[in-house]
């Protein structure tokens, strides 16, 4: 139980800080309402009003985010392999080459189908 005490203390501190910030902001901060306060702040598309008939909206952000995941996953597997390169030996190297080749296939698909063009 003793070894869990720091975690509890950390949790208590975090909760206390969150409550303190919100309450002190409410009590002391100035309150000036205007239209800009009601808008989504740098958070993608405007959810309302919807364009007529469903309409179109840009999906560039989503595409970029998905591409990020492809390369992100690649790195997740590359790091442990690089750290343990010596002990993994030839088996690890061959597996990694195959892995990177399949990632390149995905990359080639994205590149040829215009996923990397912003406009």
């Amino acid at each position: 139980m003793n070894s869990y005490a720091p975690i509890l203390v950390l949790g208590g501190l975090a909760a206390g800080f969150a409550i303190f910030s919100v309450v002190s902001g409410m009590l002391t901060g100035p309150k000036r309402y205007n239209r800009a306060k009601l808008e989504a702040y740098e958070c993608g598309i405007e959810p309302t009003p919807q364009p007529v008939g469903g309409g179109r909206f840009p999906v560039k952000y989503y595409l970029t985010a998905m591409l990020f995941i492809i390369f992100d996953i690649e790195i997740v597997f590359l790091y442990p392999w690089a750290v343990r390169f010596d002990s993994l030996g030839w088996f690890g190297l061959v597996e990694m080459v195959f892995f990177i080749l399949t990632v390149f296939v995905a990359y080639g698909y994205v590149w040829r189908r215009g996923g990397l063009e912003w406009d």
Partner: protein
Amino acid sequence: MSVLTSLLAASPGDPTNPGGGLGGATSTVTNTFTAPHVEYRALMPMLVVFGAATVGILIEAFLPRTRRYWPQVGVSLAGVVVAFCFVVANHGMAETTAADAVSVDGVTLFLQGTILLLALLALLLVAERGTGLVDLDAFTAQGATTPGSGGERAADAAGLRTTEVFPLMLFSVGGMLLFPAANDLLTSFVALEVLSLPLYLLCGLARRRRLLSQEAAMKYFLLGAFSSAFFLYGVALLYGYAGSVRLSDIATAITSSPHSDVLVLAGVALLAVGLLFKVGAVPFHAWTPDVYQGAPTPITAFMAAATKVAAFGALLRITYVALPGLRWDWRPVLWGVAILTMLVGAILAITQRDIKRMLAYSAILNAGYILLGVISTTSKGVSSTLFYLAAYGFATIGAFAVVTLVRESVRGGSDSGDGGEEDSVTVGGEATDLSAWAGLGRRSPLLAACFTVFMLAFAGIPLTSGFTGKFALFTAAIDGGAWPLVIVGVIASAAAAFFYVRVIVLMYFSEPLREQGAGPIVVVPSPMTTVALTVTVALTIALGVLPQMALDLADKAAYFVQ
């Protein structure tokens, strides 16, 4: 594929590295890695299918749009056929490989062979693009355009084709091959996701009734994601209980562990939710009718047949290899699920007016029957389950193949100004309303005869595969002591015979619909669908008339390796 092998190699069940080397024990970890022995021959079916899918992606990337269709068809069919040859060559194998993550035994090989045959037939349906006269492409020209928009019409008019469906199908097939073979729960989960994710996409690609199709994809995705989360939570609890995700380790932990049973029971319950969802058993069946109705019919055929085979394979392996020690806990639950599944499937199917929804409820009903084989916990139960899955799969693909051919006729096509009465009728979407099928026997005797064979097989009439399969299942269940379930099964069969035979009566003894002279029309497909239909009819009759060879094969295949 190498993602998969590297995942397998790093699976926590690796005996050379117990504890994973947290806690600063670096000196012990450094040199303990031994490359896991990978028996590539045992993995070949999966490697070939995934390889073909990767080639398919390259075709999508580097060939011009108009030239992709034939290479895709060729690569997909070749991949599935070669993989099937490897399965046949591996017969009699009994071993685990890739750090014990994959077990290749009789059950695995039988189910992999079944899945590959079903996938081959489904690929033929997916590849159907019609003849020069009629366009039977089931898939939207551009999945990204909104239904009914100008962009969609423009893509259709330009003759654009969706060929991504082939690599997507192959990835799904690869996941299905791995699912029944997975020997630890993490591999199971990876396989479950690999088979599901492409299916979610494929469901949304129907060319006609786009909104229904997108609704189906959305529902399937959301509910499937939920059920995957349940499955994963169950895996976590079982790992907490047994300290391993490998099935045989869990089995030993259950018989010897001093821990309380709460963790393992909760884990198994959550695992069962995930598996029964994929199988489509009540009370996790609610997605089935909507998704089967909305998805493009060739994909529905593929889902209804192959997914069920893969999911029941995984259910068999997990219950028989990991949970025999808990038999007295999970059997009563599955009893309840089986009874509910059979009754709900049979009763709700009677009320359906749409042929695809009716077949969906029939799929639920059949899941109930197959659960009987799982419950019996005997080797006879395993072999009858294997046989029934194959028999049911072929009949299902055939039945949905017939559905793709009965079309609505649309009067007054786009350029029918000077044509005669006959020329102005164009082929529309599938006529899925049951009333449209009235009098089909007079209009197209051959097609109606094919559909009759499948309906009789589903109803379990002698001399069809359904009778042999049901007989084997019910016998196995009685041997396993589950005779009350057999009584419910027989009652459900009697109720089910009513709606199956009703379609036959409708086709042969009802007056055809004659609203303004434009009832449904039966289109003539390209050889693809014709071959698929012929093969499924032949197999359905063959498994009913001369079932002994297939039954022996299933008997011989009913063994697991730990």
